[in-house]
Amino acid sequence: MARGEVRNNIRRLRFENGEMTQQQLADKAGVTRQTIIAIEASKYAPSLTLAFKIAKAFDVPIGEVFQYQQDSL
């Protein structure tokens, strides 16, 4: 049985975008800072809509922010 995990590059992208704070990204994506923290720590996989909003905040394609990694059990 295969199990997947959504990995992300939000932390790197934030620093590449003028050291954007988590609060600034949260405000741009229209979510709370706690949600950004949870996504960054891979504790929460966002909805497709939110994933697009985050990618738009960095002005990059969604695939550059989120990657689906499949782990075999």
Binding site: Q23, A26, V31, T32, Q34, A38, Y44, P46, L50
Partner: protein
């Protein structure tokens, strides 16, 4: 801390304060058999102050354009409501069973006892909801849909 988390902490503190207050009132009425008015007034003033401070704390935003709730908050709240609803059901069933064996199938309880049971169930539901919200925030809150 966002509004949902703050509200959950408020719910937890308010429930525990209610339980402490109930215990204190029980000691006054059942054991001491007299009302300690200055202590009650002090307690009521402290609770009122705590309530006002909590409302200010809950309404205070980290950022002026910060959203109040998002998809993750809604997911967490929905799960907490389900858990709370189940706990209410279980608690009411347990209460009915206990009453069945304590006072019998055709026994009666007074109106104030019935009111007290309802209040107790409500506060337990609030406690379960608050704890469920806080546990989910600690664990990440599951995954988004759509």
């Amino acid at each position: 801390m966002n509004k949902t988390q703050k509200s959950a902490w408020f719910g937890l503190v308010a429930t525990l304060a209610f339980l402490l207050l109930s215990l204190f009132l029980f000691i006054e009425i059942a054991i001491l058999k007299k009302m300690l008015l200055p202590m009650n007034l002090l307690g009521a003033t402290l609770l009122f102050g705590l309530g006002v401070a909590s409302v200010i704390f809950i309404c205070k935003k980290q950022s002026p354009i910060e959203v109040e709730t998002d998809e993750r908050d809604k997911l967490i709240q929905t799960r907490a409501i389900v858990v709370s609803f189940i706990s209410v059901g279980l608690l009411l069933a347990l209460t009915c069973l206990i009453l069945r064996f304590v006072i019998g199938i055709s026994g009666t309880i007074t109106v104030w006892e019935f009111t007290l049971i309802n209040f107790f169930v409500f506060y337990v539901a609030l406690l379960v909801y608050s704890v469920a919200v806080l546990i989910q925030y600690g664990r990440g809150g599951g995954d988004g849909k759509g």
